[in-house]
């Protein structure tokens, strides 16, 4: 165990996987000097054949990942920000997500795409989207949203060793906190949620960046005698529905916290699943705490007003734990 920033944990995992598999290639804009830090030092260690700055051309980068994988390589493509997923969306939506099925299973695509998501840094709307809902809807793509350093290492390793295109989404700027990371090989399986805090009154599913404000809210609620169970799904595709449903069976209440815009969000998906499969347990409305359906503004106060805060999360929990729903 050692304390590391999330980004360093990913870097460690990358080094280990590159040593393990010489067919693992890393590319993207500025991966050599590593704007984000997660690919830092790799080019010096593994050479420019395997770690390569690309031109700025996301549309082609995502398609190249498909071609490179078809040629027998394992690929890590760094796309920097979630908004640039839109720029490279064509090959993501039309090729990566579909070719395995369309070729009758001939084409396996061991591709991991890294991109930062989320707001909170006054980066304005073109650098602060949370794009996983669109990815989740495409089918055929896995989506991981690590919230701490250990999971980052474990999920990243699992992603890279997989055979299905996977988006590994890093909290842009706000996920760089320190955390304990297991030494040596560490894998976290996809589709296994983590119960971060046990509780009896309400289940709060918090995705990615939303874990931290949710834990803060849970603490404040505990002072008020409300016991919240906080679940971090860790991966959105596949989604560990059973852990969530099991928790709701106990608490009877659900709040989902998501930094995506509300419409067709991961929060909506989780709410919908529980409203179906967990209906019998539900004793209160299912609340979503999400970003309103707008672009994030630049000004700090205007941006902050839109991103779920501990206060908004606590309010939602208070709403669903009211006496009337007892």
């Amino acid at each position: 165990m050692a304390r590391k920033r999330l980004i360093t944990a990913v870097n460690d995992a990358l080094v280990a996987e590159m040593e393990r598999d010489e067919k693992l290639i890393v590319f993207g804009e500025d991966v050599e000097l590593a704007i984000m830090g997660d690919t830092r030092g790799l080019v010096g260690r593994f050479g420019r054949d395997r770690v390569r700055n690309s031109p700025i051309c996301e549309q082609t980068l995502t398609g190249m990942a498909v071609g490179l994988a078809s040629a027998g390589y394992r690929v890590v493509l760094h796309l920097m920000f979630n908004n640039f997923i839109y720029t490279g969306m064509d090959a993501i939506g039309n090729q990566m997500a579909k070719l395995r099925l369309m070729t009758g299973g001939q084409m396996e695509l061991p591709i991991t795409v890294i991109a930062g998501y989320g707001g909170g840094n006054s980066n304005a709307a073109q650098h602060s989207d949370t794009a996983y809902p669109a990815l989740m809807n495409l089918g055929g793509l896995r989506v991981a949203v690590p919230t701490n350093s250990a999971d980052a290492k474990g999920l990243f390793t699992t992603a890279v060793r997989g055979r299905t295109p996977t988006f590994f989404l890093e909290a842009a700027g706000r996920g760089g906190e320190m955390g304990e990371v297991p030494d040596g090989e560490h894998l976290v399986p996809f589709g296994q949620a983590d119960v971060l805090r046990e509780g009896d009154d309400v289940t709060v599913v918090a995705i990615g960046t939303m874990v931290k404000p949710t834990l803060r809210a849970a603490k404040a609620l505990a002072d008020d005698g409300i016991s919240a169970e906080v679940i971090d799904p860790r991966t959105l595709v596949p989604l560990d529905e059973d852990t969530i449903l099991g928790s709701v069976a106990k608490t009877g209440r659900l709040v989902v916290v998501d930094e995506a815009r509300d419409r067709c969000s991961a929060a909506s998906q989780i709410a919908a699943v529980v409203a179906d499969r967990g209906f019998a347990s539900l004793r209160a409305p299912v609340r979503r705490v999400t970003v309103p359906d707008v672009a994030l503004p630049y000004a700090r106060n205007a941006e902050a007003a839109l991103i779920p805060s501990p206060e908004r999360i606590a309010d939602a929990v208070r709403h669903v734990t009211q006496k009337q729903f007892a």
């Binding site: 290639i25 054949d49 390569r52 690309s54 031109p55 051309c57 549309q59 082609t60 980068l61 995502t62 398609g63 190249m64 990942a65 498909v66 071609g67 490179l68 994988a69 078809s70 040629a71 027998g72 390589y73 064509d90 090959a91 039309n94 090729q95 070719l99 395995r100 099925l101 369309m102 070729t103 009758g104 299973g105 001939q106 084409m107 396996e108 089918g139 055929g140 896995r142 699992t158 997989g162 055979r163 299905t164 996809f190």
Partner: protein
């Protein structure tokens, strides 16, 4: 069907009769698809390559199974020219379990990864990036493979064309860009939506040449040169093959035209004439050179027709696709 060897130029030798047979196989197979399309045998539409056979056959004549190709929505010719199996292709187009993609892809998506055929593709321009990625892999592997991207004059207006040429040039990748310039993009005459000659776009990045795309030897030689350069580490090249699409954008296009037209019957007839048609041209040449007598050509044709009918029989006798596959393949091993 052909036995590969090595010719004087160092690439895999394919005889003129092989070229003839391959072009004819594509032609007869697609003529049969017209029938199947009309009689309702096929679940989906087909985009036919008739008239352009010399491009795929000439280009693929200088490749082996280890080389990669990316194809287009008009991909039957590339599939067959690169050695794809006709039975498996027809079964695919018929939507059967024995199809090369198990019925999941269909006409617009025939792929045989084992033969380097990375797939026909329904997204115009998608092949640029996939070929470039495959070419990068080929270069990394260091075994002299190349990746060829077939694409249309319409696709050449997609930005990924420039992006991919740029990557291929900057990184000296063994990518060969083969433009099938048939003058049209669906119902648009491409020159009405294009600025300047396409070949000039490529010249900014790499050696680029224009050839008669209905002359199978001209295509083979130009692509052969490009492939040799790529294998030798000389980077990417561009070959533009001028050709013509004889059939509609897709079969039964007249239903989509609402009485409008985008070309004349005279144009089509001119390109169908013996002095233009790639197969007729090779036949004329073979006969003139005395390479083989008319009877041999006829015998090839008869054999090809039998082959095509056998493929139809195979497809029609095959079980329907397995609907469960959508789940098991899609959600197969992580």
């Amino acid at each position: 069907m052909a036995t590969p060897g090595t010719d004087v130029r160092g690439h895999t030798a394919v005889t003129d009769l092989d070229l003839y047979e391959r072009m004819l196989l594509i032609r007869r197979a697609e003529e049969r698809l017209i029938v199947a399309c009309t009689d309702g045998s096929l679940p989906g539409g087909v985009h036919l390559y008739i008239g352009e056979e010399a491009v795929a056959v000439g280009a693929c004549a200088v490749m082996t199974d280890d080389d990669f190709v990316t194809s287009t929505h008009r991909g039957h010719g590339h599939f067959l020219a690169k050695g794809g199996d006709l039975d498996a292709m027809f079964a695919e187009i018929w939507g059967r379990a024995t199809g090369i993609c198990k019925g999941m892809g269909g006409s617009m998506h025939v792929a045989d990864v084992s033969k380097g055929i990375l797939g026909a593709n329904g997204i115009v321009g998608a092949g640029f990036a996939i070929a470039t990625g495959a070419a990068w892999g080929a270069k990394l592997a260091g075994q002299g493979r190349v990746a060829t991207c077939f694409f249309g004059d319409g696709a050449a207006n997609q930005g990924s064309f420039m992006e991919s040429m740029n990557v291929s040039a900057a990184w000296d990748l063994p990518t060969v860009f083969v433009c099938e310039d048939n003058g049209v993009s669906e119902f648009t005459v491409t020159s009405t939506v294009s600025g300047g000659p396409l070949v000039e776009r490529a010249r900014a990045f790499m050696p680029a040449t224009v050839v008669d795309g209905n002359d199978v030897h001209a295509v083979r030689d130009a692509v052969g040169e490009a492939v040799e350069r790529a294998r030798a580490g000389g980077g990417p090249s561009y070959v533009e093959a001028t050709t013509y699409r004889i059939r509609g954008h897709l079969e039964a296009e007249q239903h989509m035209l609402g009485g409008g037209t985008y070309r004349t019957d005279d144009d089509i007839a001119a390109w169908q004439a013996d002095d233009k048609d790639p197969i007729a041209r090779l036949a004329t040449r073979l006969l003139a050179e005395g390479t083989c007598p008319r009877e041999d050509l006829d015998a090839i044709d008869a054999a090809v027709r039998n082959r095509v009918e056998a493929a139809v029989a195979f497809a029609e006798a095959s079980p329907p696709a397995d609907p469960e596959l959508a789940h098991t393949i899609m959600f197969g091993p992580a």
